[in-house]
Symmetry: C2
Subunit: 200 residues, 2 copies
Amino acid sequence: MLHDLPSLAQLLQRLQQVPYLASKNIYRVAEHFLHMDEREIEHFCALLLQAKSKLVRCDVCFCWREKDRSCSLCSSIKRDQRLVCVVETWQELLAIEKTGGYQGVYHVLGGVICPLDGVGPEDLTIKALIGRVVNKELKEVILAFNQTPEGEATAAYIASQLKPSGVLVSCLARGVPVGSSLESIDRVTVYKALCERRPF
Amino acid sequence: MLHDLPSLAQLLQRLQQVPYLASKNIYRVAEHFLHMDEREIEHFCALLLQAKSKLVRCDVCFCWREKDRSCSLCSSIKRDQRLVCVVETWQELLAIEKTGGYQGVYHVLGGVICPLDGVGPEDLTIKALIGRVVNKELKEVILAFNQTPEGEATAAYIASQLKPSGVLVSCLARGVPVGSSLESIDRVTVYKALCERRPF
């Protein structure tokens, strides 16, 4: 019956592209928006556009920052700027921040090396990471990847690239359950894995 | 760290109000939007506003219809207009349409009676349903509610209200697993439950 409702069909088709809106959920999400009044939808759209126009990637750690502010992580004097934790995406960064036990800075890679998906080292911020290690004389680089084959391969690649610099490269303790992602496990386990990091 | 990113915090706060975006998923959804270019976001917003402005509830069955078209269900000559299936929401209507085995029309109730949530009979389209039964001389009303306490209570209430009219009131066969919702079960089970409907 959706072909009789082109406005709805178009919206549903667009919602289907949003990750984590499985096919059955999009109907409820569409209903949610249809029950809002026009002013609320305009407010929602304004928030989306504001986020898009005001948020940029930090040039150093590649985490999101507000355009008119410096990166709160890279400019913090409370953080050890010579200790860098490398994460796949911003979501993993948030998972580590939530433990409350990490006082260094970050480097957001933008993904992992995955030849099947056409993602090579040049598509990630690996070059910038090597530049940071060399120029800033870092004391330690923690590779905090998900325990997936791609995560492990990326860690091995980065470790090999950083070897000439002599920096200490560590990775999370094997406390992270194999096959699961950082985002989905409890913060105590994330914290333990962070504390028990070992040389790569 | 979200307090350093007000644009992002505001967007996340708004996304949290959307059903089925559990707290961990909103970060991925936000990333999805931030990776779109401005033109794409504007297109998404245009689709939302278009859906909002073009879709209205049908005055008869309370399903969505395009403003400039008549309701495809209520105006269909292929459908038995004297057989009405009462559903909680539009999502359940879609679940029954997907079975491909129902040739009557619908009545979307807009929810179920739930005193704890402050939803009484007057908040639903029950009055309009009774009007339909009386004015259109319906031959059967099928109560296709989810097998929840609220669904059963609503069915009992409607059946008692329809008794004076003498219309045949039936409900879905008990094939629907108790505790689960119509949306989430396979279409064959929905179809069986529809075929094996019994007098209330």
